[in-house]
């Protein structure tokens, strides 16, 4: 029924418009073409100026309405060390482009109105003006030079990789259809090697279990990071292109299969601090539709998204990001279970099956998980140091 009504309305509007068209043609015949054109010029000139005013007012008003979503205004301050500089640069660019935008739109429509065709006047023959043209070539060139220098200075600083002896946390984010898999290096601070050919249902990242650096790596559900500490995210993909997108931190980088990329950033606001700031804003004081007992600011979480089209589930690759204090971070770290220990140890794919790690011995284990209990001997105990040389050799081969 509604469809029918809408169709009828559209048809009627169509008929009305066509009639309007016919009427003007008739009027043209009666009034004379030239008179009609002069009248049209005046009417259209006035509409042009009216449009320009409404449009510009609309732009400014809507910018104020959505001010709190703009970079560097309202609650949406960058949560990373480099983000503030970006936000400032955004606003500098917004200022310059805004001025040009307003001025050019005004004179464009105003000139159209002012120089509308009238009966008693003729157009002036002006073909060019070299001075004017040099001026309006030079001004954009100077402004652009300013923006480029500023922009590139920031770019090279933001995109720089970590130095050789910098103290950082390195984590790995692997995109796959359709989620992010996060991998932390564990106590040794180093991510173990991987080979995509080893990927399987039980080994989602393709970790090489003979590499001892993999033994303590863990795969948390959330990206948890300590505040004010430099993080280097190693970004990889298992299947197609993805893009590691942390909007609150002004971080974005493609995940490319076969070519690890990285992004280095420093979170400067804990989730709790950010919530605190959001609580001051009206739009976050409403109850959360998912949990009406809490307000929106209380349930706020930083989020990790995918920003490169990766297939039909592209829109759903969400992970929660939590920025915590150093103390909370250490507490969280201590609760994480190694993926190897919880899922691989003692199974068929475990290359150390039947052998005992020294950390297991320290925990009081005497029999290696999955070992044939009849054939345990002291020599089967592995010490990380024994295999270190072996691992290093393998690393150099892979490089």
């Amino acid at each position: 029924m509604t469809v029918l009504l809408i169709t009828i309305c559209v048809l009627l509007i169509g008929i009305i418009l066509v009639q309007i068209g016919r009427v003007t043609e008739l009027a043209e015949k009666i009034q004379g073409e030239e008179e009609m054109q002069i009248a049209t010029n005046k009417r259209q000139g006035i509409i042009s100026v009216a449009f320009m005013i409404v449009f510009l007012v609309g732009c400014v008003v809507s910018a104020f309405v959505y001010k709190n979503w703009m970079l560097g205004y309202g609650p949406h301050q960058a949560a990373s060390a480099h983000g503030g500089r970006m936000d400032t640069m955004f606003n500098i660019t917004l200022f310059f482009t805004g001025v040009v935008f307003v001025i050019t739109q005004i004179i464009l429509f105003y000139f159209a109105y002012k120089y509308r065709g009238r009966k008693d006047r003729k157009a002036t023959f002006i073909s060019h003006n070299n001075t004017l043209e040099v001026v309006w070539t030079a001004i954009p060139a100077v402004v652009m030079a300013f923006l480029v220098i500023n922009g590139l200075d920031a770019w090279n600083e933001i995109m720089a990789d970590v130095g050789p002896n910098e103290e950082i946390i390195e984590v790995e984010a692997m995109g796959y259809q359709f989620a992010w898999l996060l991998r932390y290096p564990g106590a040794d601070g180093q991510l173990g090697t991987r080979n995509y050919k080893l990927t399987s249902g039980s080994n989602p990242v393709g970790q090489d279990w003979t590499d001892l650096k993999n033994i303590d790596d863990f795969h948390p559900d959330e990206l948890v990071l300590p505040v004010n500490k430099k993080v280097r995210v190693r970004i990889i993909s298992r299947d197609v292109l993805h893009d590691f997108d942390l909007p609150h931190f002004r971080v974005k980088m493609d995940a490319v299969p076969g070519m690890p990329t990285y992004f280095v950033f420093t979170p400067i606001k804990t989730t709790a601090d950010y919530r605190e700031e959001l609580s001051k804003y009206k739009e976050y004081q409403a109850p959360d539709p998912d949990d009406p007992t809490k307000q929106l600011w209380q349930t706020f979480e930083y989020e990790l998204a995918c920003a490169e089209l990766c297939g039909n589930g592209h829109f759903s690759m969400r992970r929660i990001v939590r920025i915590v204090s150093e103390v909370e971070y250490q507490a969280w770290l201590s609760q994480q279970k190694s993926y190897y220990v919880s899922n691989i140890r003692g199974k068929d794919e475990d290359p150390f099956k039947g052998k005992l790690f020294d950390f297991e011995k320290a925990q009081g284990l005497t029999v290696a998980p999955g070992a044939d209990t009849t054939a345990v001997s002291k020599q089967d105990t592995i010490q990380s140091t024994d295999l270190e040389a072996d691992t290093l050799r393998k690393d150099s081969i892979e490089q």
């Binding site: 469809v3 043609e25 073409e33 054109q37 010029n41 449009f51 809507s62 703009m70 970079l71 970006m86 955004f90 482009t97 040009v100 935008f101 004179i107 464009l108 159209a112 120089y115 065709g117 157009a123 002036t124 023959f125 002006i126 073909s127 060019h128 003006n129 043209e133 652009m144 923006l147 480029v148 922009g151 590139l152 770019w155 090279n156 933001i158 995509y196 050919k197 990927t199 393709g206 299947d239 197609v240 292109l241 893009d243 909007p247 609150h248 002004r250 974005k252 490319v256 299969p257 076969g258 070519m259 706020f300 998204a305 920003a307 089209l309 297939g311 039909n312 829109f315 759903s316 969400r318």
Partner: protein, 617 residues
Amino acid sequence: MADSVMINTTQEEVLVQELGYDDHFHEHHHGDKYQSNFITTYIFSQDHKVIAKQFLITGMFWAIIGAGMSIIFRLQLGFPEESLTWLKPLLGRWITVNDAGIGTLSQDFYYALVTMHGTILVFFVLTAGLSGTFSNLLIPLQLGARDMASPLLNMFAYWFFFLASVVMFASLFVSTGPFSGGWTAYPPLSALPQANAGSGTGMTLWLVSLTLFVISTLLGGINYITTVLNLRTKGMSMWRMPLTIWAFFVTAILGLLSFPVLVSAFLLLMLDRGLGTSFYLSEIYTAGQALDFAGGSPVLYQHLFWFLGHPEVYIIILPAMGIVSEVLAVHARKPIFGYKAMVFSILAIGFLSFIVWAHHMFLSGVNPFISNFFVIFTLIIAVPSAVKVFNWIATLYGGNVRFNAASLFAIGFVSMFISGGLTGIFLGNSTLDIQLTDTYFVVAHFHIVMGIAAFFGMFAGIYHWFPKMFGRFMNESLGRIHFWGTIIGAYAIFWPMHYIGIAGVPRRYYRFDVFDTFGHFAELNKFITIAAIIVFALQLLFVINFFYSIWRGKKQTMKNPWGASTLEWTTPIVPGHGNWPGKIPSVQRWPYDYGKGGREFIPQIEPESDEEKQMAH
């Protein structure tokens, strides 16, 4: 005014006969064998004017389909909870209806719609439909040529485009769906059917179709270039060409240099898809299987693609710029301001368009150091673009502007080009691109600057040269309603997307509520969808006006209804094969003598007066 135009017209005929160039064209074409029957006149025509109309009407067909697709996916984005069951008769199994009768759009088909919308609009409408139409129509007419350098190749250019259209249209009906990996078709997604349903048969057809399309573009382009270089009439030096021709000429050069690179990118992709090579693929584990590809790089494809892709946006916008320059000058009754600066800025933009491609790839994993160069070149483009904008505005200054649908769309073009061009300054700056790339800010930017703006240029051209094409006028009132509705509606659609993008909402999302961060704009998305539906309806009004006017529009009674100085208006009202019945007019002056010496306009065929000659010395 009407009287003076009549006098000019007859004077013009005299001038053509006196000063024109006799190429004995009609003596060689007894019986006009090229246009002897219906098929050779209207279907396999070699006449540039008919081919132009063929490009235009095919382009309009695709524009309706492409825009209609955007309405369907906008419904999904604006009203994700509404039932789409009513679309089931059209979309069949792409709409799944649950037990409660609520129909939802399949995710695969959503992405197919987004992909096809981009492909169709960029290539079939704004490349073939815009450049194909107006280059064909205007290059011979404005240069004083009988036809294109090779009418036969010109005919092939259209029919390769037609073939490409047929293949692309067929791909819409494939059981696994049309290609759905984005119009840029980045591998590995576009290479692996197991990762993306649309990357199977749909993608094969997509590649075949676009390869045919490139052949069409090359055949057309080489013809345009040859015609411009060789078939200019006596006196038509390069510096006397209208800006339309300059724009079409540079556009054709850009196409000729960049489209083959796209084909090479496609060829390697086809090899990866079909023969198991690893140009773009490496270390992939998908659908439970580790694939054997090793050593390839998806980034290589991006380089090759954008080496075409960036010139492509200028292939789209330059013809619109040329049309707007011409239309503004004619209707402002003033010379285009800074003709030489306009030509040099077209050339500068054309040259720079080849060395900025990686600004689409700042965050694709290329070495960040490389980006430095691309940022610099990208932002340099702002300078010639700004010059063009200032010159258009200065063209209005002191004019006697005749408002009609054509000039309104030309003014609207300038407004859109300013709005969309300025946001390019944000995106071209790699630092800001970190936050803005792949968000709705980009969607807003390119839709305004090369989507809407190019459409406005195209509309300006259609309203302006409709009399040349069909000997009748389009309805003015409907044209003006079309303009005001479209400019308001287009800003209503795309302006809010800037805010959504600045907030970080990524593009190409099927729905936004999975993330708290992106779910705040439900109301705005509704608003955008409603605006899009209204704008779409207005375009249907244009289509009705167009076809109605072909047969029932106001008849053209004067040869030169706009009082324009260029050559196309010296032909008969409905020019036959060969364009001029007798001699070809010869050209005596530049094309923008409007309002000179107190005269409304001086046609290009009129010799300089003694006074003018003295002024020049």
